[in-house]
Amino acid sequence: MNVATYPTRNLFRRRGRTILTLIAIALTVLIFNVLRTCDHGWQVGAEEAAKDRLATRHKVSITMQLPKRYIDDLRDPAKLPGIKAATWANWFGGKDPRERVPFFAAFAADHLSWFEVMDEMKVEPAALDAWKQTNNGAILGDVLAKTLGVKVGDDLTITSDIYPGDWKFKVVGIYMPLRKTADRNSMVFRWDYLNNKLHENPQSATPKDQIGWVMSRIDDPSKSAEISRSIDKMFDERDDQTVTMSERAFQLSFLGGASAIINAFKWVSLGILLIMLLILANTVAMSVRERTHEYGVLRAIGFSPRYVFNFIMGEAVLVALLGGLAGVLLTMVLINGVVGPFIEENMGAFFPYFRTPMHVFGLALIGAVVVGVISGVVPAIGASRRKVTDALRRVD
């Protein structure tokens, strides 16, 4: 037996209360982890962005398109040195007419260069060859293919938010993500197919040869800002101006609209810690008050106020830590085991990766310990400062 025995054994005093408190703390830790995982999940795309890629879009809006001939300038090292490769894509706004999946990303890209530049998506060379042979060929992410129930060789019909009618494609390949956070819910088909289809009708009013955005690979990531500026400078005098940024900044820019929501989630995750604090502080305060006489006895037989203070703090922090560990375990099983994969399959477009990262677990445990300290400090000070004779007078 040692001085740690007493605070540890006190957990067994009122077993029901300890268990309820531990459950409450574990639950609050679970909620905290879920909220922070959402926060992380939204930004993981930005964090995992390739450092050597730039995105270029129309300066006015991502919804406005650029002339295809810009690509020729971008691919000309004499005009724009430092760019190793450039590819482009147009947003298609694809919808599944059978509504098997609520949302997925569909875009038309340059079939000759897209997967070379976006190399975190791995495609078999045979599939790329087949794509070259098939005008209406499409390559799908593995999760999307599973959800839509298609494999290589199948036909796939989708509709579009932007373009009227049914669009029929042939699945020529499936891409596999090389990073666990990469998107697996996209569909890529040939840009030239889209371009030609839109202008089958010679009366068509839609401008021809328009591209949505450009992704370029640069040879020196440290020159990212410099090259971005030179790209934009090049097109500054033209009618359709560009704005170029690192891929990370590009991913983050899509979060700008949701910044208020993201902040709200951060505040709410603090709120759950506050609830944890209120519950634990309540439990500690109740327990300490019930043991007033006992602390008096300990003081009488010679334990200094510091001992009493440490006993109470030790107990509070121990409960918080145990509850925190239970919560972390619960999160691992529930989120990383069950809910995470479910969300990745069904909401993969928003959350291609929904697992709680290690640093969130660390944050949760630190938060729990801090809550333990704060919960314990006021009752501990009160009990340690109480006059021994007053404490002994109470028989409770």
């Binding site: 209360r17 909620i31 579009s160 208020a260 709200a264 209120l278």
Partner: protein, 385 residues
Amino acid sequence: MVPVRYNTRSLLVRKITTTLTAAGIALVVFVFAAAQMFGEGAKRAMLASGRADSVIILRKGSDAELSSGIGNDYKKLGDLPGVAQVAGVGAIGEIVIVITAELADGSGGISNVLVRGTPPEGLAFRPEVKIVSGRAPKPGTNEVIVGKAISGRFKGVGPGQSFELRRNRPLQVVGEFTAAGASYESEVWGDLDVIRKYLGRESVVSSVRVRLTDSSKFEAYRMAVEADKVFSVKAMRERDYYRKQSEGTQFLVYGFTGIAILFSLAAMLGAAITMNGAVANRTREIGTLRALGFSRGSILVSFVLEAMLLTLIGGTAGVVLVQILSLFSFRTMNFMTFSDVVITFQATPGIVIGALVFSAVMGLLGGLIPAIRASRVSPVEAMRG
């Protein structure tokens, strides 16, 4: 007979535990009510935006104005039966575009602003629109007015300022407008032809609207419009259109309400801990009450009521605090329109009552098991030393 006064006094005596537990409940109720108030604000914006007797026509297959496109012969849609003339015109065609703009708060963040090009009759079509500062834009010029909700939130999009729609094509903000809380208040309005020219899209409009002589004429009108094989459009009541648009923010309400419910589970555990401790410490008192003749049932009920009183105190505090949110508005992107919309938190008596009921339910559920324990105390306990 339920010893209510006994339970009330007990709560007052245990001030610290009462305060801590009630504070936890208050926090949960705050989040719950805030989510509801946001939803109410979104609903108000939606209701204010659409009229029952107005019809919006979009390209078939499009769900939002942004992705829709209709050719210049759209004026024919105003010639169909049932259409009322507003300011001498049957059909209003408008172009809608979303532009990225930098937030004015200095964070460097960007988001999307919806710019609407409307014909000269566009203002008259919406009588609820009022110019609250500056003046209306002159038709055929690059003058625009900005909705009060987003005015000043983005760089260049405020009274007296200007911003570029495209290179060398600036738009001058000459005034601010309100629209009785409609989502129009989060938009910038300018001249249809000027904006189309700036965008190089003179031959399309995003959407067409007509006013019906009577809202009952809608079905007939819709069938006539959709029967036209050349056009390939669909017609919706404006009200239904905006209801669908508000789905872009509904998920937020569900999300935060769900979070509040998860919080409430923790808070209920807190209430259970408190009530359990109270019962354990007051065993002798309860035994005395039983010895005096109070039945098990009355003890059970009294402790449930004590728990509910505890959580109601917290709930009331939460409801009072959440009223502060009415002073604030919340900017978020509506994913259906791909542009920002500013929603004001709206409190209603229904939300207040709902929040209080929610807190009472927390007390009921959290306090039930401790109350059952209390009811099991026998009169003998009163005599135990």
